[in-house]
Amino acid sequence: MDEFTITEKKSGDLIILYLNGFLDAHTSSVLEKKFEELLSKKLYKVVVNFSGLSYISSAGLGVFMAYIETLRSNSGDIKLSNMSDKIYNIFDMLGFPILFNITKDESEAIVKFNETV
């Protein structure tokens, strides 16, 4: 079975999620559970680092759409970073850059969080 894992790092009130492997219909529930867990811990500021992700399908994209507003309404956000061109193109095709902050690397995303504080 295609593997998908998430590791995380806490930095102040920021959470950085590192996605690895295949994010598809089958594994989307892993990401969903992670967001639920963050919500329950009242952690609303999330940077998602895509450097280890090799594939994303619509169900995976859908999870980001489903949580962005909840996080923002709690003065948090989801910022996306370190996407490969292949993955960025998928996000771009759907117009995600309009709604999401997508940065080249993780540190830029963290800086953006600090700017808005």
């Binding site: 219909a25 089958h26 399908s57 619509s58 169900a59 995976g60 859908g62 117009g95």
Partner: protein, 571 residues
């Protein structure tokens, strides 16, 4: 001299310009540059570049505004119809005034050709000097347009390919989604919530949308909200409107229908009715896409497949759960049947001078029939037949109750045994152990083979019949059915004599009420008739005749109650 320098400058700027635009493929950048260069050179403050909307349709006169300068940027992206004169250039007075050209106060008007195909129009406003264009200036503009037309054509093609690519990528995404989901749904078809969640994420992720509602009649005769991104109060009025939607609708302009207007105001852009059965049973309602693009026919096809796949999977889930429930019921029935079977006698006692037989044929739903023949002494035998109300496990448990009560009382059987009092005690026990809806029809009797008598008490059970040579006695003495009243009137017993060849038939209502296709009942009279006709046979023989006759009567109809028989014959 000055003329030569001017020419030199013009050539330089043309070369520089063509070098710049040839390195780029973005149409808007190129057109912006062309327009600005010309406007700067001619000292014109307003201008626009229009490109043919459909480059493949030579006869179309529709153009899309690709670049505007010195004018409201709102014009960007709008389409206009321009009726073109044959001549190459014009000042506005010379052509039919059209609304758009009027609005931007166009004075000069150049056609852009690639080879001999018209690809666009350059519109220019008044010069600062209010003068017309000189021959040289016209030549400059024409040269510039000729130089850039291959680049424009290339970048139009490039845009088209980009668009095709985008469509292709999104279709690949759609196909991947369907592929992944069908794989996923097939392995997870027992979980309704998971199916709905994946459907939701697929909608959000395929279109980049925030709002969606799925109205459905899935396993219902009216629309309800199967899944939605945000709260939506669905009332009868809306349901009536949903019923009217038969075609896909894009909610882009003001709607004359209040429901559609409401949906549009709530941010929804697409209403898509989907047929999974014979009529529309799902309506998908989607918000605006993040990339602002409109819903296309391929989107609609994808949605139809996605919804169909999801509804079928949901249906499978329901069927699967029903199957599981049925399995549970069946295993419960099996338990009930096992309990019942364990409580019925395995081997009937031998009774000297008598032949005896008994049987219980369980129905599809286990009833609570009980029969027993218990040897009390060498000369005394107790016969019990009872029918517990209700079916399934509860009935079989109550049956276990009465069986153990009967056996307990009979353990202490001796010459002082009081039949009536024991019946009353069993009644009290059953009354205490059940609620008022549960009751037991109960018959028991003691055969004394020394005196050839049969003493019995009938507590509300179907009358057993003692079939004698010239008469049939109904065994109807006794009292109330068990479990209804704590202490009713006393039970009374009766003792009857057993002559040679007398046959006693005891049965439950499963036998007398066995039904045929026409819902007719077998009836007590037929029981009496068959037993009488066959009273020369032994018990087992009579029993077989009776069962055969019942089977012949019911013609294989499924019976809903157990059939229990006991036959006792004095040989």
């Amino acid at each position: 001299m000055e003329d030569t320098i001017n020419k030199q400058l013009e050539l330089n700027s043309l070369i520089e310009f063509s070098q710049l635009i040839n390195t780029k493929l973005e149409l808007e950048f190129i057109l912006g540059n062309i327009l600005l260069s010309i406007m700067g050179k001619m000292m014109i403050t307003k201008g626009a570049l229009l490109i043919k909307t459909d480059s493949k349709n030579a006869s179309s006169n529709e153009f899309t505004v690709k670049t505007v300068k010195g004018l409201s940027q709102d014009l960007h992206g709008t389409t206009v119809k321009v009726n073109l004169p044959k001549e190459p250039i014009f000042e506005i007075e010379q052509i039919d005034a059209c609304d758009f050209l009027d609005r931007i106060k166009v004075r000069f008007f150049f056609k852009i050709y690639f080879v001999d195909k018209l690809i666009g129009i350059l519109c220019l406003g008044e010069k600062l000097t209010r003068q017309s264009l000189s021959k040289n200036e016209i030549l400059f503009i024409e040269t510039m347009l000729n130089l850039s037309s291959p680049t424009i054509e290339n970048s139009i093609r490039f845009e088209e390919i980009k668009k095709l690519n985008l469509n292709l990528s999104s279709q690949i995404q759609h196909l991947r989604t369907l592929f992944e989901l069908s794989k996923e749904f097939n392995t997870n078809f027992q979980d309704r919530n998971k199916i709905l969640r994946l459907l939701k994420y697929s909608l959000l992720g395929n279109f980049g949308i925030k709002d969606y509602i799925i109205f459905s009649k899935f396993r219902s005769d009216r629309f309800y909200i199967l899944e939605a991104g945000k709260e939506f109060a669905l009332d009868d009025d809306y349901i009536a409107h949903l019923e009217q939607i038969k075609e896909p609708e894009i909610l882009d302009e003001a709607q004359n229908n209040p429901f559609k207007q409401f949906m549009k105001d709530s941010g929804y852009r697409l209403l898509l009715p989907i047929t999974t059965g014979s009529s529309v049973d799902t309506i998908v309602c989607l918000g605006e896409k993040l990339n602002k693009s409109e819903y296309t026919i391929t989107d609609i096809q994808f949605l139809e497949s996605l919804i169909n796949l999801s509804i079928i999977s949901l249906d499978n889930t329901v069927l699967f759960n029903e199957y599981i429930d049925k399995q549970k019921i069946e295993s419960e029935l099996r338990i009930a049947r096992d309990i019942q079977r364990a409580l019925l006698p395995d081997v009937l006692p031998e009774i000297k001078g008598y032949s005896v037989s008994g049987c219980n044929i369980p129905a599809m739903q286990v009833g609570g029939d009980y029969f027993d023949i218990i040897k009390l002494s060498d000369t005394k035998f107790c016969f019990v037949i009872a029918d517990v109300s209700g079916k399934g496990t509860p009935a079989s448990l109550l049956m276990a109750n009465i069986q153990s009560a009967v056996h307990s009382f009979l353990k202490f059987y001796n010459d002082d045994f009081c039949f009536e009092e024991s019946t009353q005690k069993i009644n009290e026990l059953i009354f205490a152990n059940t609620n008022s809806e549960k009751f037991i029809t109960f018959f028991w009797g003691i055969l004394d083979i020394q005196n050839n008598t049969f003493k019995y008490i009938n507590a509300g059970h179907n009358y057993p019949y003692l079939i004698k040579k010239n008469e049939i006695i109904s065994l109807d003495k006794g009292g109330l059915i068990l479990g209804v009243l704590d202490s009713g009137p006393d039970y009374i017993s009766e003792t009857i004599g057993f002559d040679e060849n007398d046959v006693l038939v005891m049965y439950t209502d499963g036998a007398s009420e066995a039904r045929n296709k026409l819902k007719e009942e077998y009836g007590e009279d037929k029981i009496k008739e068959v037993v009488t006709k066959n009273r020369k046979l032994d018990s087992a023989g009579i029993q077989k005749k009776l069962l055969d006759d019942i089977e012949k009567f019911t013609e294989g109809e499924t019976q809903y109650d157990d059939i229990t028989l006991i036959l006792l014959k004095r040989e």
